[in-house]
Amino acid sequence: MKFKKKTKMKIAIPTTAMPDIVFMLIFFFMVSSVLRTHEGLSVILPKAKQIEKLESRVHVAYLWVSKEGMISIDGRLFRPESIRNIMYEKRTADPQLIVSIRADEMVNMELMSKIHKELRLADALAVNYSTRAM
C-alpha cells in the first residue's frame, strides 16, 4: 500500500504567481508607451512617401519649428541665430549626431534656409526632415 501512494505523486510547476508576472509586464508596457511623448511644439508634419527610419534614437537631436516660426530645442525656445551654438555643443558631444527637423508644413523656406545655414555653421550636417507617412 505504501508503495502505491508514491506513484500517485504529481509534479507540477507552480503557476499561482504567473498572473502577477504578467500583470507586471502589462504595467511596464502601459507606462513605457505613455512615457515616450515628445516634448516640443505642436506641428503638423508634412507628408512623404519615400521615408526612412532614423537608425538610432540615441544620436538624435530634435529641432522643432512651428507655423509661427518659433524654434524649440529640448523644450526651450531659441532664436534662429543661436542654433549654431547649441548644435555645435551637441555635435562636439556626439559626433554621430543626426538633427531631426520637425517642422510644420506651413513654415516658409526663408526660415528653413536660415536653419540650414546655422546647421552648416555648426557642422551638424546629417539632417532628417521628419515627415508623416502618406
Binding site: 503557476t15 504567473m18 498572473p19 504578467v22 500583470f23 509586464l25 502589462i26 508596457f29 502601459m30 513605457s32 508607451s33 515616450r36 508634412p46 507628408k47 512623404a48 512617401k49 519615400q50 521615408i51 526612412e52 527610419k53 532614423l54 534614437r57 538624435v60 543626426i98 531631426s100 527637423i101 517642422a103 510644420d104 508644413e105 506651413m106 513654415v107 516658409n108 523656406m109 526663408e110 528653413m112 534656409s113 540650414h116 545655414k117 546647421l119 552648416r120 555653421l121 557642422d123 550636417l125 546629417a126 539632417v127 532628417n128 526632415y129 521628419s130 515627415t131 507617412a133
Partner: protein, 131 residues
C-alpha cells in the same frame, strides 16, 4: 444533521485558473496596440560650410520652387508628381547628374518636402540644396 453541517463549511471561491489567460490577452493587446513611435523622415546630408564644389553645368539639373509652389525644372514648369519620372530619365541619360533644389523664401516647407520626396523616390544619390 450531517447535511446541515456540510452547509456550514461550504466555501465560495472565485475561479482563478483563467486569470493568467485574461492577463495574457490584455498583455498581447497592449503589445500590439503600442506603436513604438519610430521617427521617420527624409534623410539628407547638408553641404559643409565653405565646401562648395565647382561642377560642370551639364551635370546639374536645377529645380526651382517659387512662392506659389509651382516647380521649374531646367526652366520648364512641371507638376510635382512628374518630377520622379523626369528625374529617372535624366539619371538614365547621365548617371553623374546632380539635382539642385532651390526654393523661394516664401515657398512653403510642405512643397519643398514633396519635391525632395519625389527625388528620393527616383533613388537620386546626390541632391544639392541651394540657398
Amino acid at each position: 444533521m450531517s447535511l446541515l453541517k456540510n452547509k456550514g463549511i461550504r466555501e465560495a471561491e472565485v475561479p482563478s485558473g483563467s486569470l493568467a489567460d485574461i492577463a495574457f490577452l490584455i498583455l498581447v493587446f497592449f503589445m500590439v496596440a503600442t506603436t513604438i513611435d519610430m521617427d521617420k523622415g527624409i534623410g539628407v546630408v547638408l553641404p559643409a560650410e565653405g565646401g562648395e564644389i565647382e561642377m560642370s553645368s551639364k551635370n546639374i539639373t536645377n529645380i526651382l520652387i517659387d512662392a506659389r509652389g509651382s516647380v521649374l525644372m531646367d526652366n520648364k514648369e512641371v507638376d510635382i508628381q512628374d518630377i520622379k519620372g523626369l528625374v529617372v530619365d535624366l539619371q538614365m541619360k547621365n548617371p553623374k547628374m546632380v539635382f539642385s533644389v532651390k526654393a523661394h523664401p516664401r515657398t512653403k516647407y510642405k512643397v519643398y518636402i514633396e519635391v525632395l520626396d519625389q527625388l528620393k523616390q527616383a533613388k537620386t544619390r546626390v541632391i544639392s540644396i541651394a540657398e
